[in-house]
């Protein structure tokens, strides 16, 4: 029981790191980015190449994965995404689905379709036994890194100047622009940062989620659930939503394995009917 809770929290934390970039971009530019998972996949494969093929230590591989995906995110944002913000939601959906298809096929071409594994250092293998509860070291590491990231993120957004600009832009883009905030630049940075986080999540999660070319399609729905259930106005909403989703998914797979992913889809639809603006959202601003 406690092991499930533990695994669920680790899983949820991972989902949060993967999805929080998406929630910010969605809230900021009202942009539906279905290709968010592609960045996570890029991070995962980046780590696989670095750690397995080039022999870079795992601890160095993670930040490198973050930087690489952030750079990729910034590049794509400037060259492609920037043209699509003004388009209708339908166009955004089409555009990002196109990107997903391209990334899936491209990774398949370069890396092959089989599942990839990151070599994890021996220190992180095995598990601790605390009060009779088995906790895998790797999951503990995930929880540690993700909680740290969450706190840093929260501080970044709540305390720094950039954070207040970001919040202003999310709340009302036009007024923020009128106050002299360069919303475009804020968005590029946020987008790159969010993509980098997704990449980091993908690198960390390769062990738990599995990494193969269909990753962006398989987990797209999870990210979307986190964002829609959690709302896009804060960091805590998506955080709670991901923890909830992680626990529900792990518990569902453990107790009613026959239904599998059915549990979370049901939860999502019920949540959406109950509160279309998100479970933890403030009253609808837009």
């Amino acid at each position: 029981m406690l092991t499930i809770l533990f695994d669920g929290i680790a899983y949820g934390m991972l989902l949060f790191v993967l999805a929080c970039g998406l929630s910010v971009t969605l809230g900021l530019m009202n942009f539906i980015n279905l290709a968010h998972g592609a960045f996570a996949m890029a991070g995962g494969y980046c780590t696989v190449i670095l750690v397995n093929r080039l022999g870079v230590p795992f601890a160095l591989g993670l930040p490198l994965a973050f930087l690489a995906t952030a750079a990729l995110g910034a590049l794509l944002e400037r060259t492609l995404y920037a043209h699509v913000y003004a388009c209708s939601h339908l166009d955004q959906v089409l555009f990002t689905i196109g990107l997903v298809f391209m990334s899936v096929a491209a990774v398949d071409y370069v890396m092959g379709s089989s599942q990839q594994f990151v070599l994890i250092p021996e220190v992180l293998q095995g598990q601790f036994i605390v009060f009779g509860v088995g906790m895998s070291k790797y999951r503990l590491l995930i929880i540690a890194i993700c909680s740290l990231l969450t706190i840093v993120l929260q501080l970044l957004i709540a305390k720094t100047r950039f954070g207040s600009r970001l919040r202003a832009a999310v709340d009302d883009r036009r007024v923020a622009r009128g106050l002299g905030i360069n919303v475009g630049a804020v968005f590029t940075i946020t987008f790159a940062f969010g993509s980098g986080l997704a990449g980091l999540g993908g690198a960390l999660g390769a062990e738990i989620l599995g990494l193969d070319p269909t990753f962006p399609l398989k987990y797209m729905i999870y990210f979307l659930i986190v964002v829609t259930v959690g709302g896009t106005t804060s960091i805590t909403g998506p955080f709670l939503a991901s923890i909830l989703l992680g626990i529900a998914d792990v518990a569902g797979k453990y107790y009613v394995p026959k239904l599998g992913a059915f549990v979370i889809y049901t939860i999502m639809i019920v949540a959406l009917i109950w509160r279309p603006q998100g479970l933890f959202a403030r009253s609808a601003a837009r």
Binding site: L26, I32, L80, H83, V84, C87, H89, L90, D91, Q92, V93, L94, F95, I97, G98, L99, V100, F101, M102, S103, V104, A105, A106, D108, Y109, L217, M220, I221, L224, I225, T228, K258, L259, G260, A261, F262, Y265, T266, M268, I269, L272, I273, P276, Q277
Partner: protein, 342 residues
């Protein structure tokens, strides 16, 4: 008031008139039965895809609902018609097909209430979620559906007890084409009715539409149900003509490809789905012979390019093309004809 009513009806009647170009389109469509005898299988798939795209056009092009879950109705009806035939509950394919359409429409009616709520993103999520949920269900209850192996041992009886489905797809193609034509007539009737006009208005601006007394929610429910029924007919056709049904019918790719089909052909004039399906199948066939494994990359590429170039510009291009063909057609037919489409 009566003046406005007659105005509207003459407007609708004028728009609903068949142009020579449309007649030529359907004459050609039926002529393909004799023109390309070796291509029945791919033409059959094209006809099914066209019907499926037509169903999406009804809600996207006319009511402005973005859906990523059209595959839900397609799949449910596919499995329904397969199961019905497998266990010999309804042997006559036409009756089974109509029933599977009704089942899908019923599902559409139930889920339409979910679609009414929220923004584009919520709609996207709910439609996608429903399709994934059903796919997951079909996967889990493998005792009934055959799970990952697909539904096997489906034996479809001859149509009306007369026309047996052959392995070259001859009967299958004609069957699909006829169903497509009937559905198209129905859709055309719906779109050019006052009901269709009210749909267009609420697509333009739901708030104003409700202000002039159009019951927005009821209209959306109605068109969503109809569209689900059409998608169901397409799914039923696929199972009946291939005597097989697999989990693939629920896949996300199917819904996403469908959007692409409709975007290639253009939305909101009914022929978009049909033309898009033909172009898409050609494209797929051509790319698949070039790079069999990675054709998905190019499909994605086409999507990205279409959006970056601008969907309006692409549609303008096709519209210009249609207008040119219509002028050409008008000259052929000598009598003055209204331009095709819009």
């Amino acid at each position: 008031m009566a003046d406005i009513a007659t105005d509207v009806s003459t407007y609708l009647v004028r728009r609903a008139r068949w142009s020579p170009l449309e007649i030529a389109f359907w004459v050609f469509a039926f002529a393909t039965i004799w023109l390309f005898p070796g291509k029945y299988l791919i033409m059959k798939d094209t006809a099914i895809l066209a019907l499926f795209a037509l169903s999406l056009d009804l809600i996207l092009g006319y009511a402005g609902i973005i859906s990523l879950g059209q595959a839900a109705f397609f799949g449910v009806a596919g499995y329904f018609s397969g199961l019905v035939a497998k266990y010999g509950i309804v042997n006559e394919p036409v009756v089974a097909l109509v029933l599977s359409g009704v089942v899908a429409a019923a599902l559409g009616f139930v889920t339409s209430f979910l679609v009414l709520r929220g923004s584009d993103l919520t709609r996207l999520m709910v439609t996608l979620g429903v399709a994934l949920m059903l796919g997951e269900l079909a996967n889990r209850f493998s005792g009934i559906t055959g799970g990952a192996d697909g539904l096997q041992g489906v034996d479809i009886a001859p149509i009306f007890g007369l026309f047996r489905f052959d392995m070259y797809g001859h009967t299958g193609y004609i069957y699909c084409l006829v169903v497509l034509f009937i559905c198209f007539l129905l859709a055309r009737r719906i779109v050019y009715s006052p009901f269709g006009l009210s749909l267009r208005s609420l697509k333009g601006n739901p708030l104003r539409a409700s202000a002039i007394g159009i019951p927005v929610d009821r209209r959306l429910v109605a068109i969503y149900t109809v569209s689900a029924g059409f998608a169901g007919l397409a799914g039923g056709l696929l199972t009946q003509t291939s005597a097989f049904c697999s989990l693939d019918v629920f896949s996300f790719d199917r819904s996403a490809d469908l959007l692409l089909v409709l975007i290639i052909g253009g939305t909101g004039y009914l022929y978009g789905g049909l033309i898009g399906a033909v172009i898409y199948k050609f494209l797929q066939d051509w790319i698949a012979t070039l790079t069999p494994q990675y054709w998905q990359f190019w499909i994605g590429f086409v999507l990205v390019v279409i959006v970056l170039v601008g969907r309006e510009r692409v549609e303008e291009l096709t519209r210009a093309g249609r207008a040119a063909i219509a002028r050409f057609g008008a000259r052929l037919f000598t009598r003055p004809a209204p331009a095709g489409g819009r």
